[in-house]
Amino acid sequence: MRLNSVGQIALVAAAIAYLLGVYFASSPVWMGFTINALIVAVIALSWNITGGFGGLSSFGHAAMYGTGAYASAILQVKFGLNAWIGFGAGILAGAAMGAFIGALAFRYGLRGSYFALVTLAFAEVLRICASSFEFTGGGSGLQLTLAPGIGNLQINDRTVVYTALLIVVAAVMALTALIKFSRFGAYLIAVRENEDAARALGIDTYKIKVQAMAISGAFGGLAGVLYLQLWLFIDSTVVYGSAVSVEALIGPIIGGAGTVWGPLLGTLGLHLLGEGAKHLLPNAPGLNFVLYAIVLICALRFLPQGLVGLAGRVGPFKKKENDNA
């Protein structure tokens, strides 16, 4: 997590100040809104592994998100297992789904828009399957029994939920940083930048890409499980819908793909933007999305490296040796 400029430090500091400030704002709206944003940040961080570091832009991260949520929900609802087991299983299921999609797609060397389309198609197939089969609850979806308690991973106190999510996001970011500054991360970036050169350097690029999909899938599954435990209800559109896939990629791209802070910053920024748009146009549902989309287009045009990249240009530090923080 190295920050290279005054701007980046200020940006991160602002985000941290905001996240801590939520504790003191004593506003359920801010807390609720930030809780939603944090769950989205987890799926954004998931996308960031493959899309950011690996240069593999997926358009179907809902596949992993939904699989995590459904796996956990099915185990709890149909098999009566404890939520904590479901939690772990959801993460594993997400990882398995990621690895499966990756194994198939990369076997045939798919990349670019083809990869995006295949992932999109996978999410769609899963959505249709989930709404068609009995054990996934069909179109009715799955509803967890309301039974608050830490044993069931159902927490009523919102401050506790918020704190837990902050810890989860911090942990996922720490893992991201760990990956970024590890052999695996270096390999993944090498694959993104130049796959042939990477192969020449002894990297099994297929394996690396599938592993990246598995890790990304685990994070995606985690996000799905968090959603499930928070709202206790899922159906096929809610967790496999393309809205999830869009949210997964939009945050990192706006925040700065392939950075540790980008996905969180982008997601928070976009949610704040959405909330702001809603307040600017309170009596015109829908028009807030129009405003949001316009700002999004401008951001794409004027922030080529995302928020982190923009901030990086504000007061950059001189390079010192040994600045691997």
């Binding site: 828009s113 769609e124 249709i128 068609s132 939009i250």
Partner: protein, 288 residues
């Protein structure tokens, strides 16, 4: 059930023609600009509203709306590419995707705001008319759409094959640098292509409205199938899109008949994934 196979195949073909019509514009844009146009469904919706309102307010028959709607949507598509997508995307494929997404967000929500979410159907005298073919009753509107698709795909193909603009589009699609070398204005050609693609969607709207409804969400009903059609037919292949559209219509219809309508949809997406995995170039596409 077996007595239903023939009518099912026929109605699949009719529906498939609509998929092909929607996919024609998409395949053109996809094949030439190499971008995934996520606004395609929203543009279809917009065109359906245009046709609907022409009928509702001015009494223009949807089929007679074609000469009005087509040029307008061509201009719209041209302007979108030239004025918005190209300048705002800075040449990044990922950005194009997100910009088309943003466009669809804008169009959808403006439609919702101005026209509300009411379902509208055009009150047309022949809406219930059918044509009897091989003992099956086929809706007249669908038969017209089928015939139109069969006519339009070759027309478009001929346009691409035999006109100066057509060959410029094909040249830009495959060898951008070479096209620049012979003096083709690549950005203009891209925009023309986007315009034609959008005009195709408008045509699909004219042919679809008599047998369908329009809501601000109606685009999503067709857009994913259209993507499938494009990939199945081979990126950029117009004739491929036509064949793939018809094929998907039949697959969907037969899978729906035998597996149930819900699960039948999976047939389409399985076909999609299989084709992407094993023959990414599609039925009539070139290996890339």
């Amino acid at each position: 059930m077996s007595s239903l196979i023939l009518p099912a195949v026929l109605s699949g073909l009719m529906m498939g023609a609509v998929y092909a019509l929607v996919a024609l514009g998409l395949t053109l844009i996809y094949g030439v600009l190499h971008i995934i146009n996520f606004a395609h469904g929203s543009l279809l919706m917009l065109a359906l509203y245009a046709v609907y309102f022409l009928h509702y307010h001015l009494g223009v028959d949807p089929y007679l709306a074609i000469p009005i709607v087509l040029p307008v949507f061509f201009a719209l598509g041209y302007a979108l590419q030239r004025g918005l997508i190209a300048p705002m995307s800075s040449g990044s494929e990922q950005n194009v995707l997100l910009i088309t997404l943003a466009i669809s967000m804008i169009v959808d929500n403006l439609a919702l705001y101005f026209w509300t979410s009411n379902t509208r159907t055009a009150d047309i005298a022949y809406a219930y008319d059918t044509v009897e073919i091989l003992g099956a009753y086929l809706p007249l509107g669908r038969v017209i759409a089928f015939v139109a698709a069969l006519a339009v795909a070759p027309l478009l193909w001929a346009f691409m094959a035999y006109t100066r603009t057509g060959s410029a589009i094909r040249a830009v699609a495959i060898e951008k640098r070479g096209a620049e070398l012979v003096g083709i204005d690549v950005n203009h050609t891209y925009a023309i292509c986007f315009g034609i693609g959008t005009a195709c969607v408008a045509l699909a709207a004219c042919l679809l409205l008599p047998t369908f409804y329009v809501t601000p969400q109606v685009g999503y009903t067709f857009v994913l199938v259209a993507f499938t059609t494009v990939v199945l037919g081979g990126m950029g292949s117009l004739v491929g899109a036509l064949i793939a559209g018809l094929l998907l219509g039949v697959i969907e219809s037969l899978c729906g008949l035998f597996l149930g309508e819900s699960l039948g949809q999976i047939g389409i997406f399985l076909a999609f994934i299989l084709i992407l995995l094993f023959k990414p170039s599609g039925l009539l596409g070139r290996a890339r």
